[in-house]
Amino acid sequence: MRLSRRGLLRAGLAGSAATALGGLASGCAVPTGSTGRNMVLWYWDGGLGDTVVKNARARYDSSVDLQAIKIGGYYRSKLITTMAGRAHVPDIAGLKGEDMASYLPNADQFVDLRTLGADKYKSRYLPWKWEQGIADDGRMVGFPIDCGPVAHFYQYAVFRKAGLPYEPADVSKELDTWEKFFAAGERLRRRIPGTSLLTDVNSVFENVVQQGSERYVDKDRHFIGDQEHVRNAWALAVEAKQRKIVSNLVNGTPDQLSAVEDGKLPSQLGASWATSDLKNGVPKTKGRWRVADMPVRPSNNGGSFLSVTKACREPERAFEIISWMLDAGNQAQGFVDAGLFPSTPASYDLKQVREPDEFFGGQVTMDIFGPAAQKIVVAYNSPFDIALGQPVKDEIKNVGVLGKDPEQAWSDAMSKCRRIAKHLGVSY
């Protein structure tokens, strides 16, 4: 048969049209979850230890083909899009701690881990962390990966020069209230002009709120962001500004990093994972840092979960995999691989996590973070906390950065909250 050019074009067009139509047709029959032996696991870069994932693949190779996929970009929106589309939903999904409150009202999208025997593992995990994975109706959605106990990072030599306590034990003991912490900030600024204890007021505000057991909206869908616990955090943040212990720099900018490097910002209240931010952001400060307890009591910042989705065909197998990946031994490995702070207290005594850290002058940072993780209080996180906490955080930032009148800022924040609460159906 002779092929004319026109015939060839026609065949090509027909072929591509058929492919397009075929694609549409098969689109009607996309599998909800995975197929074959596949067990698909979604997480993000640094969400699980690489060694742990590799070992899990090898270990369960005889029964399933564990496909651990790192999802880049805005993780949560990709996950909920996939779940709402009911197509190619992963069997096991990582859930970020800060998004947890928004997943919990939709606990029916996940397998209740209690039905798979999760309760027998409960005693091995931090109780407050375990509670965060449980929905209001008692269904257990998330199995704890890591947590983020907050501690006080400071530069040893600068504190010493300013006449402040400088050994970690002394810093923990002597700067154990906000009052003493602020007084230390004033002293620091007097002794070494141009130095500020903290970068911004938000670090005070957020940490004080996170130390407590209440946030912005309670279980009964009532706004509590106008109550004592938030007012107190607000007042302390305003005080930090008035006593001039915060800089006018912006976190994460070149200006701030260079101030940290020059010892002009010798102190930070940061979660355990902030160690890697310091190591990457200001590598030249190696050896200058120490870690101590933060004032009052530790708070938590970050930490995530693994869940089994409704689309999973073999929930028992999936649960077997995640409970193995997140046991005390593997959590210690996750800490070594990716700095994921274990939610299993048994890990804190393991040798791998107790290596002296040269970045912190040979200090064993686990001595601070381990006990801190166990002192964090259980808090209720509402799905409306993000929407109703934002106006307050925005306004305290305006006080800190733009010098807005605190009274005015507070009343602006409250009137915004009132409006948003009404819109979201939260009682005020």
Binding site: P105, N251, T253, D255, A387, V401
Partner: protein, 320 residues
């Protein structure tokens, strides 16, 4: 359906002539339809259906995962009373104005210079076009450094000529100017190329005649070049209105550090929170997909309004 029995009665005559001819036409031209179909299929999947769905969504309450709840017009009612949305419109327009007018001026100057340049013409054109094809994210990161307080190029320059430092990304006007500068830098070259194309369509006889009549270069520019360039100018204005009103990546990347936990809050005092940024915050930070959709339609109406204003301007010019 009602006409079917009638057709069955006299099939021989009716069916043959008018019914089969379009069929033949389709059979004859199907490959043309097939050739243009990818666009329509893609548009249907990724354009029309999502647009329709967002309209549907805006009448509901939805957290993105659970069941949707009918909300009637309440999302739109809230939108009208939402002062944050109105202020985001204001922010967008201010940034747009700060970016567009200097941009048009600079683009015009650049185009006139390119038009009279003799050597390396193409090299200049490529160089001026490059910013437009550079990733906005990359540009925003660079501009973040350029506008940083202690080490930024802008402040270094200000200090060199005896001014004080300005905390650009920490003050409301500083933020707006930084975003506008970024947009100006990105779009000047692109629009200069368009102006250049416009300049080259102006007949040279007009310039010759003007020179004969003794017009200087300034007079020539204002009396001949500018009036002849009006359609091009309006095209540039329309395009930059549509893109400028939808600015998102510029403030998002430039200000993500200053926004403590939401990367969409637009910096201190929400000084850089444009309409689309606000839409993102409502939708993806607050999980308020229904309201997010309503905000998106609000943005749509604002853009339509501006497009109508532009269109009226074009029409009136055309009548003159």
């Amino acid at each position: 359906m009602a006409t079917l029995p009638a057709l069955e009665k006299r099939p021989a005559v009716v069916a043959d002539v008018p019914v089969t001819r379009p069929r033949q036409g389709f059979r004859k031209y199907w490959h043309l339809y097939a050739a243009i179909s990818p666009f329509y299929l893609l548009f249907l999947c990724f354009g029309l259906i999502p647009v329709g769905f967002s309209l549907y969504l805006s009448f509901h309450r939805w957290d993105g995962l659970g069941s949707m709840e009918w909300a009637g017009l309440s999302q739109y009612r809230y939108l009208l009373s939402d002062s944050e949305f109105w202020s985001s419109i204001g922010t967008t327009i201010v940034i747009w104005a700060l970016a567009t007018f200097p941009m048009i001026f600079l683009a015009m100057v650049t185009a006139v210079m390119l038009n009279s340049a003799v050597r390396f013409k193409n090299l200049y054109r490529v160089a001026y076009f490059l910013p437009n094809v550079t990733s906005v994210v990359a540009i925003a990161i660079i501009f973040g450094s350029v506008f940083s307080t202690n080490f930024g190029l802008v402040n270094a320059f200000l200090q060199a000529i005896g001014f004080d430092q300005i905390a650009w990304l920490n003050t409301p006007w500083g933020i707006k100017i930084a975003i506008a500068t970024l947009m100006t830098w990105q779009w000047t070259g692109y629009n200069a190329i368009i102006f250049l194309a416009g300049l080259q369509t102006v007949p040279s006889e007009l310039y010759e005649a003007a020179r004969m009549d003794g017009a200087g270069p300034v007079q020539t520019f204002f009396r001949i070049t500018l009036p002849m360039m009006r359609p091009v100018l309006l095209f540039v204005l329309v395009v930059s209105t549509v893109t400028g009103l939808q600015s998102f990546s510029e403030p998002q990347v430039l200000l993500q550090n200053t926004s403590n936990d939401s990367t969409f809050s637009g910096g201190p005092g929400h000084a850089g929170r444009t309409m689309v940024l606000y839409f993102f915050q409502q939708t993806f930070d607050n999980n308020d997909f229904g309201y997010g959709a309503a905000v998106a339609w609000g943005i749509f109406l604002v853009v339509v309004l501006f497009s109508i204003i532009n269109w009226r301007l074009v029409q009136r010019r055309g009548e003159e």
